[in-house]
Amino acid sequence: MLKTLRQIARCGIVSEPPPPPADELRLRAALQDEILAIMGRALCIRAVDAGSCNGCELEIQALSNPVYNIEGLGIRFVASPRHADLLLVTGPVSAHMRVALERTHAATPDPKRVVAVGDCGCTGGIFGERGASLGRVANVIPVDVAVPGCPPSPTRLLAAIRAAIAPAGRPREPGSSGR
């Protein structure tokens, strides 16, 4: 126990300030004010792997490490879509995951936001859109924000998540919202 406490003290606080919301990644601006009124600044995310190579998942997992400290921003990953405000979906959507993705989306209460993650989630990426690969997430469910990258860095993911919940087009100080 002493070793554990000593290690915690030795480590200190390593969290970095979050990036500002990436407004340029927004696909849909509708409902922003209504969503903010309901959700406030806290946010519950359900991550859905709809056919990804597992690369994007590594960076989504990294959001919870002490450097990005996503929970410190009031954002939490939850185990059920019924508890979620936002779906973080990686792709490409495989034909075999289509029904599961549609059901997960349907099970998420309104108002909800969807962030498509990675080159494959945005366009189908190297897997394309043919046969067993249905391509981008927006081919199956409506998408609000799409963040490219292979995989997108945790900083870009955070900026995209914040773009999905930040008021559109309002000037802000970096790191001032979402706290």
Binding site: K3, Q7, G51, H96, A132
Partner: protein
């Protein structure tokens, strides 16, 4: 050894260093598989190719050699199945039937990767009796992990049987390969299984370079080994943290995830990428290493911090209580199932391509094989610690003695129609790529094989008689691939 006769030079062609190809008749296919099994050979991969002359292939490893059997197969009659000799062949044969339409003569004809229009009609094996009920889990899982379906048959808390249903991330990658130029195929190879990008891109590059008869410069080979070990360290750090967390020790996740973040940032400084998706190219590596001293310092720091954390893990009675005796796979069962890679080594299967078939930096430094015969979660945790320290030693050695010279060479267009093989010990185990070029500079056939094919059935055995609540921990101790497996 009875299997020696199948390696006779007169009847085989060498397709790579230590890899022989032999064309067989259906009777010889069975006889060779029997002899190889008797001598303790392991089935590395089994796949089919229905494009021109339908054929089925089996790759077997024994000591430092690999034998690939090629059998002309009749789509009507079916080829002789090998499930009785190599249980892992079951799903590989079913996948070959799904993808290439070539069936084996074994009895289990259920689809595997093809879900068809009614995926919920899959014929799970039912467990019947008083108080037995089923728990279906997935495909969408509770954590940030890949999708798949698990069907538990339980009585009370105890698991009587687990049956896996995979294929949810099936993206048709083998067909996708045939649409790409052969040089660009390495980018898809790196994205078959995102946590094993280096292992797959190296195996692909090796297959291509073998076909083109290119030897990569020494510096390139060493830098590839460096990337592979960095990938191993990153994944082991991630797993060690997650295993602590799944046993209720969140401190472990926080600490190890910080180490992993520092490592992938060091990767970015050294190779321009946090995860080394495009670090390897045909003929070498995409760019030379930058900032070797900083990378060496980061690895030394990770090794030191990990030693502190290992002491904490070892002394934590709560963790010991959860890890010890959970999810046991005895060495005899592991041998029978053909478990491979890290999971196999934790159950006495002392095979590691870096030890058994060393080349380049691995021959220079000599890799110490990390094994245990305990076969439980604690053993799989210990192997990760041991391998992590060994990888840190290798990285330090490579950085200190990196050969000078070019880091990349040109790869001419390979001859069409011949089989190229790549085989690399990724962090999970042996990653295998079979590659055939087309005459126009494209890919006629590419079959990538993940070690998870062998180890998924092991998980079904490991959970028997454990309680449902221990499944996440046992599953994480295996940490098998979905995307890499689902093709």
């Amino acid at each position: 050894m009875p299997s020696s006769r199948w390696f006779a030079a007169a009847d085989t062609a060498q397709v790579a260093a230590g890899v022989l190809l032999r064309t067989v008749t259906p009777a010889e296919w069975r006889a060779a598989a029997v002899d190889l099994a008797r001598d303790g050979a392991r089935l590395i991969a089994l796949w089919a190719d229905a494009a021109t002359t339908p054929a089925v292939y089996g790759a077997f490893a024994i000591a430092d050699r690999v034998l690939v059997l090629e059998l002309a197969a009749d789509a009507e009659v079916g080829y002789p199945g090998l499930e009785d000799l190599y249980p892992a062949a079951n799903r590989m044969q079913r996948a070959a039937a799904d993808l290439e339409g070539l069936r084996s003569t074994d009895r289990d004809l259920r689809p595997w990767l093809a879900h068809g229009t009614a995926p919920h009609d899959y014929a799970f094996v039912r467990v019947e009796g008083d108080g037995v009920h089923e728990i279906p889990v997935g495909p969408v899982h509770a954590g940030i992990i890949e999708p798949g379906h698990f069907r538990f048959s339980v009585v009370g808390e105890k698991v009587l049987r687990l049956e896996e249903r995979l294929g949810y991330t099936h993206k048709g990658v083998e067909r996708r390969f045939t649409e790409l130029p052969i040089d660009a195929g390495i980018q898809l190879a790196a994205r078959l299984c995102g946590d094993s990008a280096v292992a797959y891109s190296w195996a692909y590059a090796e297959a291509l370079e073998t076909l083109s008869a290119v030897e990569v410069p020494a510096r390139a080979a060493w830098l590839r080994a460096l990337c592979l070990e960095l990938e191993r360290i990153a994944n082991h750090l991630g797993d060690l943290g997650a295993l602590g967390n799944d046993a209720g020790f969140a401190f472990g996740l926080t600490q190890f995830s910080l180490l992993k973040e520092r490592l992938v940032r060091a990767n970015e400084r050294a190779f321009g990428q946090r995860y080394l998706f495009d670090a390897l190219v045909p003929g070498g590596v995409a760019r030379d290493l930058a900032g070797a001293p900083e990378l060496a310092a980061c690895i030394a720091w990770i090794a030191a911090e990990t030693q502190v954390l290992r002491d904490i893990y070892d002394e934590h009675s709560g963790l010991r209580g959860r890890f010890l005796g959970a999810g046991v796979v005895q060495p005899e069962l592991a041998a029978r199932l053909g478990l491979t890679g890290l999971v196999g080594r934790a159950s006495g299967q002392a095979f590691d391509l870096r030890v058994d078939r060393p080349h380049g930096a691995y021959r220079e430094f000599g890799v110490r094989a990390c094994t245990s015969t305990d076969g439980d979660v604690a053993a799989r945790v210990a192997i990760r610690f041991d391998e992590l320290f060994e990888s840190c030693r290798l990285v330090a050695g490579i950085l200190a003695a990196l050969p000078a010279g070019p880091y990349r060479t040109a790869v001419p267009r390979p001859p069409a129609g011949r089989l190229g093989i790549g085989l690399v010990e990724g962090w999970r185990g042996p990653v295998f790529v079979a590659l055939v070029a087309s005459p126009d500079g494209g890919i006629r056939r590419c079959h990538p094989h993940d070690p998870s094919w062998q180890n998924w059935p092991g998980l079904e055995h490991a959970i028997i008689d454990n309680i449902v609540a221990d499944f996440p921990l046992i599953n994480k101790s295996f940490n098998l691939a979905y995307s890499g497996h689902d093709l």
